[in-house]
Every structure is written in structure tokens, then in C-alpha cells.
């Protein structure tokens, strides 16, 4: 059964499957966060958007967190989830001061961004926010790619080939723009970012083919109107 079988609007299977997979990922240990910590982070992100009036609280939100996040970490999550235009280098520095290492911070940015993504979609098609699954046992992998180096972002990233080596070639192919490489210090989150991008925006190999229509009923210029308007409202320079 489709993840969005209650939608009155047709949802492509690959899109529904990508979203279902992401909710399953939330319930597993990440690279740096346990499943319980990840649930606490995404719960805080969702609640901050509900409190801001950007989302409607679901009747069944699913699993509840049993991890208390430090207040300064909660403030960082709330800023990114509900007020991304205000997130800046000072916010990042507060995260570091709160004890988050760069890869832990990157994983937090990833899963906050992903849960907002998934919740915005549900709101768009008029279905309740999907419930969070119970966190599963497991240990964070603590995979830290040695290829990640300081470039120009707050956190180290894996450069494009050839500087990024074999891992860059595996993850990126010949080239990826910074928006895709941004999460490369946490490779599993990078892969999830790519999967969502391909399901929701355009298949990346076709990104320069402006005659290719990834969404039924929408031409590429129409897609760009939606994308550009959202980013303008969020004051996103990128």
C-alpha cells in the first residue's frame, strides 16, 4: 500500500517510496546520533513548525522522544526548522559551543531539513503528517570520511574529483554542486539528500535538460517558479 494512500491527489510510487524510506531511516541509528536522539531532533523540529503555525498538529504523531535535548541544541533546531532565513555563522558557532562536533552538527542539519521537507509535502497534498516510528536499537556507525576537508562551508566537505578521491567519484560522479556536497561529511545523509532530490525535483542526470518534465502536469519552467518562490520566501541566497 502506498505511503500516501489517503491522498486524494495521485502520488508517484517512487516519491512515496522515497518518503517511506526516509521515515524508516529516522528510526534507525545514524552516523553520529542514536535512533532515540534522532527522534528527539525531528520531534523538536516538527513541533517548532507546529508552534510557528507552519504545520498542523496530527492526531497521531507516532513515537514520542524520551531523550531530553539540551536547551541550546533545541534552540538551534527551532531556528533551522522554523526560521531558516535567520540561521547564520553565529548559530553554527552556538552549536559548536553546545558541544556538537562538525559531523554531528551536519547530521542534525540533515535530519531537521529532511523532516521539514516531508512534513511540507504532506501539508501540500492535504494529508496528516506521517507518524514517527519507534526508534530501533543500534549503534551509530561513526563513519568519518577522511576525504572531508575544510572548503568554504561551516563544516568540512568532500571536494569534487579529483581532489575528493575515490569516495568523491563514488558519491558524486564527475561533479556535484555545493548544495549536494554540503552533507558529504555524513555520507548516509548525503545519499538520502540525493534520493529525495531525484524523487522530488528532477533526475540529476537530466537536470540540464529543460525539456524533461519530471512531474505530471508541470513543465520545467513551472517547477522553477515553485522552487524559486519558496527559496525567495526563505531568503536563501544559494
Amino acid at each position: 500500500m502506498s505511503f500516501y494512500s489517503d491522498s486524494e491527489f495521485p502520488v508517484r510510487d517512487d516519491l512515496a517510496d522515497a518518503h517511506a524510506a526516509q521515515f524508516e531511516r529516522f528510526a534507525r541509528a545514524g552516523i553520529w546520533g542514536s535512533a532515540a536522539q534522532r527522534l528527539a531532533v525531528i520531534s523538536e523540529a516538527r513541533q517548532s513548525c507546529i508552534d510557528a503555525g507552519m504545520l498542523e498538529a496530527p492526531e497521531d504523531g507516532g513515537a514520542l522522544p524520551d531523550v531530553d535535548l539540551p536547551e541550546d541544541v533545541r534552540a538551534i533546531i527551532r531556528c533551522l526548522a522554523a526560521s531558516p532565513r535567520d540561521f547564520d555563522m553565529d548559530t553554527y558557532q552556538r552549536a559548536r559551543d553546545a558541544g556538537l562536533s562538525d559531523p554531528k552538527f551536519a547530521e542534525l542539519v540533515a535530519i531537521v531539513s529532511f523532516v521539514v521537507n516531508l512534513d511540507v509535502y504532506a501539508r501540500g497534498i492535504g494529508v496528516p503528517l506521517r507518524p514517527f516510528a519507534e526508534p530501533q536499537p543500534g549503534t551509530p556507525s561513526r563513519e568519518l570520511p577522511v576525504e572531508a576537508v575544510p572548503e568554504q562551508a561551516f563544516v568540512p566537505t568532500i571536494p569534487n574529483p579529483p581532489e575528493g578521491g575515490a569516495l568523491a567519484r563514488e558519491l558524486y560522479g564527475p561533479f556535484k554542486p555545493y548544495i549536494m556536497r554540503a552533507l558529504s561529511i555524513v555520507p548516509d545523509e548525503f545519499r538520502a539528500h540525493v534520493e529525495l532530490e531525484q524523487a522530488q525535483y528532477v533526475l540529476l542526470p537530466k537536470i540540464m535538460n529543460f525539456d524533461y518534465n519530471h512531474h505530471e502536469g508541470l513543465t520545467r519552467p513551472q517547477v522553477e517558479v515553485v522552487a524559486g518562490r519558496v527559496s525567495a520566501i526563505n531568503d536563501c541566497f544559494y
Binding site: 491527489f9 532565513r85 555563522m89 511540507v120 501540500g124 562551508a153 512531474h215 519558496v230
Partner: protein, 106 residues
């Protein structure tokens, strides 16, 4: 497409049903549920029900990307930066707080 309509939505996008898409994009990340319901219905009537899913997916995707970009503090890529001086000025993008993530490297 007229990019100025992305920051001044009263302008014509130059894209079929662009006004409906602008309204939907604002409503899906806004706080007025009635406005979203109205924009969703109008979009479905104009472009078909599948377009609601597509537009929601794109809006969701860029909700993600905006947070990843601002959260990780990435600058825009050189090849984009170099070709967009006039457009950035026209749209007022250089005044965005997140522009600092690019300008601090110049």
C-alpha cells in the same frame, strides 16, 4: 520566465498558471491553512490533480535545500556567482542574510 516575479509575486511570471504556482508556493510554507486549501484547489483545477503532488514535492524539496544551504553555510558555486551579478542586484538577493556565506569568501 520572468525571475523578478519570484520576489515580486504581483508581477507576471511569463509561465502558464504562474500566478497559481506562486500562490501555492507561498501558501504551502505559510501559516494560513485556508489560503493553502484555496491555492491547492485552484492548482488542481488549472493543471490537474497530479500537479498538486508535483508542486508539493518541489516546494518540499526546496524547503529542504534552503535549510541545508543556510545550515551548512555554503557559498554559491563560482560558475553561478560569476554569471548572476545583474540578476542578484535586480532581485535584491545580495541583501539576504545568507548572502554572507558567499561574500565572506570574496
Amino acid at each position: 520566465m520572468n525571475p523578478e516575479a519570484l520576489v515580486r509575486p504581483e508581477l507576471d511570471t511569463g509561465v502558464p498558471s504562474g500566478d497559481l504556482l506562486l500562490e501555492f508556493a507561498a501558501a504551502i510554507i505559510g501559516t494560513d491553512l485556508a489560503a493553502l486549501d484555496k491555492a491547492r484547489t485552484a492548482l488542481a483545477e488549472a493543471l490537474g490533480p497530479a500537479a498538486v503532488s508535483g508542486a508539493s514535492a518541489v516546494a518540499a524539496n526546496f524547503s529542504k535545500n534552503d535549510r541545508v544551504a543556510n545550515g551548512i553555510g555554503i557559498p554559491i558555486d563560482d560558475m553561478v556567482f560569476k554569471g548572476t551579478e545583474d540578476l542578484r542586484e535586480q532581485l535584491g538577493l545580495n541583501a539576504y542574510k545568507s548572502a554572507e556565506n558567499t561574500f565572506r569568501h570574496l
